[in-house]
Symmetry: C2
């Protein structure tokens, strides 16, 4: 394997210069840098990202920080990110932060020199810390808006409002929202917007939860929803709703005759037998893919071109036979 000293010999410079060209290219004359790069290419000096950064100006790696891997929404975002990274010949590595600000900060520091940029999925760190990280390596934030950073969010509340419109039209008066997860910034915003929209429509909104957005928690919420006298239920995600529907089925409570249902994503519904379920179709894969595409652009043009741009992706609202007029 060719080493630093081989590059130095071929370039006709000292090993220190090669090292400096790697670690602090801005301190090396452009012509020298060019010579070092050509030499590195010639002797086949490769290996670690830092070395590759020398010859190509980039490490080839992006890091994606995710709170957890159990959430199917995150898995779908990662899959979309992975596909676009591949198209651009980049490697995506994933680090789990467990939704802890301290850990998130550590991972950002530890991986800083290893990657060309970061995608932060639902980050929990302060805006200040995230902006500081961006100054070292480009950062794209998904699922949260941070001033000064490129952020990608999805207009789920807007989609849920359309479902409320439909429920009001059908004659529902009391509607349940199965909320989750506890402490979520996104869920809080949704509840606020839904509350206002329900009031405008004259709907009585009953919030159940917040609960952890998993199948079993949806099933466990069945009793409270049925006893609340609501004739329709919206769930924070499709997994929760599936759990609720499972339990209703087990108890012989008919959907949608006794309870109209919808969810804020449709990820767990693909190919499900029976009446299709109404949902806000969230473009999770697109979200991940766009984040990486933005990062590719930023990483290719450092400095000025890193101007932040926030984007809210629209959702598609799928209205189906799972919404029917309330039983008399």
């Amino acid at each position: 394997m060719a080493g630093l000293e081989d590059v130095a010999r071929v370039a006709g410079v000292s090993a220190s210069t090669v090292s400096r060209a790697m670690s602090r290219p801005e301190m090396v004359a452009p012509r020298t840098l060019e010579r070092v790069r050509a030499a590195a290419e010639k002797v086949g000096f490769r290996a670690n990202p830092a070395a590759r950064a020398l010859t190509t100006g980039r490490t080839g790696f992006f890091a994606m920080l995710v709170p957890d891997l159990e959430n199917p929404f995150y898995a779908a975002i990662i899959a979309g990110a992975q596909a676009v990274a591949e198209e651009h010949g980049r490697w995506l590595i994933i680090a789990v932060t467990e939704g802890a600000a301290e850990r998130e900060g550590e991972v950002l520091r530890e991986l800083r020199d290893q990657v060309d940029g970061f995608v932060l999925l639902s980050p929990v760190g302060s805006a200040r810390d995230l902006v500081a990280a961006h100054r070292r390596k480009p950062v794209v934030v998904v699922n949260r808006r941070v001033n000064g950073l490129t952020s990608l969010t999805v207009d789920t509340p807007g989609g849920l409002a359309r479902i409320f419109d439909r429920l009001a039209e059908l004659g529902h008066r009391r509607v349940a929202y199965l909320a989750g997860p506890p402490g979520s910034w996104m869920d809080r915003r949704r509840r606020d917007e839904l509350g206002e929209h329900a009031a405008r429509l004259g709907l009585d909104l009953r919030v159940v939860g917040p609960v952890y957005p998993a199948f079993a928690d949806g099933a466990a919420a069945a009793t409270e929803i049925v006893e609340s006298g609501c004739t329709a239920a919206l769930a924070f995600n499709s997994l929760l709703l599936l759990g609720l529907m499972y339990e209703l089925g087990r108890r012989g409570i008919k959907v949608p005759e006794r309870l109209s249902v919808a969810a804020a994503d449709d990820m767990a519904f693909a190919d499900l037998p029976g009446t299709p379920v109404s949902a806000v179709r969230v473009p999770a894969g697109e979200l991940g893919g766009r984040a990486v595409a933005d990062l590719v652009e930023m990483a290719g043009a450092p400095g000025a071109a890193r101007r932040p741009a926030s984007r809210k992706l629209p959702t598609e609202v799928v209205l189906t036979g799972s919404l029917v007029p309330p039983a008399r």
Copy 2:
């Protein structure tokens, strides 16, 4: 930030020697290596894993290669691996291979110099390629046995055999196995062992599928299972069984009265209302944790101590009221 040249100055050696100490420590005299390490420590030379490897003998990173992130079994293994990595002060980064041998090989090559070792989750590469990778950096294989490598598997077939024993005892004669995923090495082995065991017990085994092991696919299999005349069904995973149970509930088919049910893991069953579901409890978290613990040991003692050791973790079989005598 201190550079290579600063380390060289303090150590009183050339930058080439520092570079060589990093890339090929075996070519540098032990006393010189010691001096370079002390100098690196003194000037605060850190940054990338390669540099850290110089001062501490390790990068601090492990990489875990996983086929996909949608599978909850993998997510649980990763969570266990993550926890143990943290205990040992190591960073775990995850790379998705999409179950493609070519991609798996590329990731192994690309990350080789960045990490202290690899955990390969259900790898698909040839044994020869995997053993070759291990020669560069320690490798632990999970969910597959590879000669010459440390492998961790789980005795799920043994657990499923206990469930068959129970079904035979209860008087069942025709039992369905809902298989998945297509092309899986593990599923093939399971089907073979279950087939032999069923024959020994005089059970008529009907294999349904293989199908992709997701909720909707379990629901879609309901018709074939009900029409097969089977009085009990085992599923490849808990998600498939949950889908099957959902669809049975929707059709008003009683579980377990009309169909006794069990699954080869219990991951989707936690806190589910109703009769607990019989399952082989797979220690997924332990599997990931042990793999990392083995890797820590191997990475700390290169060469001789990398002797391979295959281990099969036992499973716990949970027999519940979801298995009852067949209806007359």
